[in-house]
């Protein structure tokens, strides 16, 4: 039976979707404390696409790769609970301040280090930036084709994959030889829930630095339970040009950030007059609430 080596790219993000009135502080800055860090939603759809391949081709393996701070190990564990076989946390101070291009470069270097893969799957975009750039940029850096906006894998064999893409107006079915990078839409099937047995097995899985941080007996636990060790890679573990990493390797710079200050609760009464509604729409556009 065919088996596939799958890499799933995932990101831990602040949950910006359900920001209510308390998400912004009175001074107009983002209240990060009320925003939990979560598994980027479309990356979960990507994981489900990978798990469905594994359902059909039992000997396939799923490696979850994430780049971020040490805390991002949480989403690797989340991936283990749902069926991922392996997880790698790419973390290093040198990655700090990366824009999408520097992120893609670091991820592509880590993927070259993993070396052997048939399919890379990731979410279309992350909810904190909504850029949808990292997927295509990783594909370009690796010199492989990309299939964006995947809703479903229609068929797969050792040579070729057929994918249903969700576009603005309709759908497109495309075929491509492996290896390929696929980005997954939120219209794809939602990820299956955690598996209770896997949760028991992996709940203590972590990386070495996290283990040291909490003062646990890392060596003792690692020798007897190797599945609890999550790989942690820094720049010494990948072959890379450090000039292309982090802030220095990022062509885009943030010049300025304006916070959107939402109005107070006092309601404003507006008459059904051309002038009044014109003023309202202009006010909403100028304050970036719409438009």
């Amino acid at each position: 039976m065919d088996a596939f080596k799958i890499i799933v790219l995932a990101k831990q993000v602040p949950d910006t979707r359900n920001v209510g009135k308390d998400a912004m502080k009175a001074d107009g800055t983002v209240n990060r404390a009320v925003l939990p860090a979560i598994f980027n939603p479309e990356d979960l759809h990507a994981l489900e696409v990978a798990l469905r391949i594994k359902d059909l081709f039992k000997d396939s393996t799923i490696t979850l790769l994430t780049m971020g701070p040490v805390r991002a190990v949480e989403i690797l564990r989340e991936g283990f609970y749902r069926g991922a076989d392996d997880g790698i946390l790419l973390t290093d101070r040198a990655f700090a301040g990366s824009d999408t291009l520097a992120t893609s470069y670091a991820l592509s270097c880590a993927i070259r280090e993993i070396r052997d893969f048939d399919i890379i799957i990731c979410g279309r975009q992350a909810i904190d930036g909504d850029t949808a750039q990292v997927g295509p940029q990783v594909a370009e850096k690796l010199g492989i084709p990309q299939i964006t906006y995947c809703e479903e894998i229609v068929s797969l064999n050792k040579k070729q994959v057929t994918v249903k893409r969700r576009l603005e107006q309709g759908v497109e079915i495309v075929a491509c030889n492996l290896p390929v990078l696929i980005t997954v839409n939120n219209s794809a099937a939602p990820c299956r829930p955690r598996n209770a047995k896997r949760l028991m097995k992996y709940k203590h899985a972590t990386t070495m630095s996290k283990q040291q941080e909490t003062g646990g007996d890392y060596l003792a636990s690692s020798s007897s339970h190797t599945h609890l060790n999550i790989k942690e890679w820094g720049i010494s573990n990948i072959k890379c040009d450090t000039a292309q990493l982090g802030l220095a390797g990022s062509p885009t710079k943030v010049k300025k950030v304006d916070n959107i200050v939402f109005q107070s609760k006092d309601s404003k009464r507006i008459e059904d007059l051309d002038e009044d509604i014109g003023i309202l729409m202009k006010e909403l556009i100028d304050s970036h609430i719409i438009g």
Partner: protein, 339 residues
């Protein structure tokens, strides 16, 4: 060299509206920078299309014609752009933030090692001082976009890398014909010199129109209607406003039960709970079961002819009037005021 370039999307025999909008903005930027405006048009059967493009003030049109360029696939379009940009060295490249632009843009930016900003809502020319390096950059492209789920507005610049690339959503910029009689120089590209052997890895097997499943939970703008909207036809107005604002239509249980909209759009205790950035409640009185599903919205705008409707107590803006009169006005003034 050093010009402003717009990638024109050509699908199903038509140039996309967003491309005309970007050409209009591109002309404006080129005037400020005192450089030329160039357009790219890749596809098949492109005869005479320069007549549609030139009136927007285009100086040079680069055309690439080949049957393998239409319908769009990523790799041949990428190869054309990357090689052409290496020859022409534009300073600014604009593309639509469409399914095509968001697929092509990042691939091209990665190949060129240049910066790309997605979904810009404003583009301006301005200077930048790097205090650490003691360097002053003149005439950069300010790429302004919402980030962090729309809670902040960031101004992004690319000080050192060229081209400065940006994508913009349809309807954000305004379409302006600069001179109906304007003509442009047309340069035909010999595609053989641009394609790579591996560019045709993706085969399109089938394309068809298919409605996507409704999911209002992830929408940052919701235009919701109650029983007071009155009819399925009147809900059409809500759909128009929602699509213009890039949002979704929601509804109360009463409106769903009356058959005005699909059940998937129901907000409230027995429907979905939403927390959008903007909730426009049209003809909704504000039953507690409905409020439970939307009261955490950041901005609530209520349109109701009853001043005493309970929903007005939690609304930031209350427009007193009939839905069928107010929404057309909102549509009109949104269009007039958007850039």
């Amino acid at each position: 060299m050093n010009n402003v370039t717009v990638y024109c999307e050509f699908e199903e025999g038509k140039i996309a509206d967003v491309s005309f909008e970007l050409l209009s903005k591109g002309r404006n930027l080129a005037n400020q920078l005192n450089c030329k405006l160039e357009a790219l048009l890749f596809g098949n059967n492109l005869d005479g299309l320069e007549k549609e493009i030139a009136p927007y003030g285009v100086d040079i049109l680069f055309k690439a014609e080949d049957e393998r360029l239409s319908p769009y696939t990523t790799l041949p379009h990428t190869s054309l752009m990357v090689k052409l940009f290496k020859e022409q060295k534009p300073q600014i490249v604009l593309m639509g933030a469409t399914t095509i632009g968001r697929d092509l843009g990042p691939r091209v930016s990665s190949a060129l090692g240049s910066g790309l900003t997605a979904d810009c809502t404003e583009l301006e020319i301005g200077d930048h001082e790097d205090k650490k390096e003691k360097k002053i950059y003149k005439n950069l492209l300010y790429q302004i976009r919402p980030a962090f789920g729309g809670n902040i507005i960031a101004t992004i610049i690319n000080p050192d890398c060229r081209p400065q690339m940006a994508t913009v959503r349809e309807g954000v910029m305004r379409k302006v014909i600069s001179d109906p009689k304007h003509t442009c120089e047309v340069i035909h590209l010999d595609v053989k010199n641009y394609f790579n052997k591996t560019d045709f890895a993706i085969k399109i097997i089938e394309r068809h129109i298919e409605k996507s499943k409704i999911n209002i939970k992830n929408s940052s703008i919701i235009v919701a209607g109650g029983f007071g909207v009155g009819s399925r036809e009147n809900f059409g107005l809500l759909h128009r406003l929602a699509s213009l604002l890039g949002g979704e239509v929601g509804a109360t249980r009463a409106a769903v039960d009356a058959g005005f909209v699909e059940h998937e759009r129901q907000v409230g205790q027995t429907g979905v709970t939403v927390r959008p950035k903007v909730y426009i409640a049209c003809g909704i009185s504000g039953q507690i079961q409905h409020l439970a599903g939307m009261q955490e919205s950041s901005i609530i705008i209520s349109i109701n002819n009853d001043v005493n409707a309970p929903i007005n107590k939690i609304a930031n803006y209350v427009i007193q009037g009939k839905v069928e009169n107010v929404i057309p006005k909102m549509i009109r003034y949104f269009k007039e005021n958007s850039k």
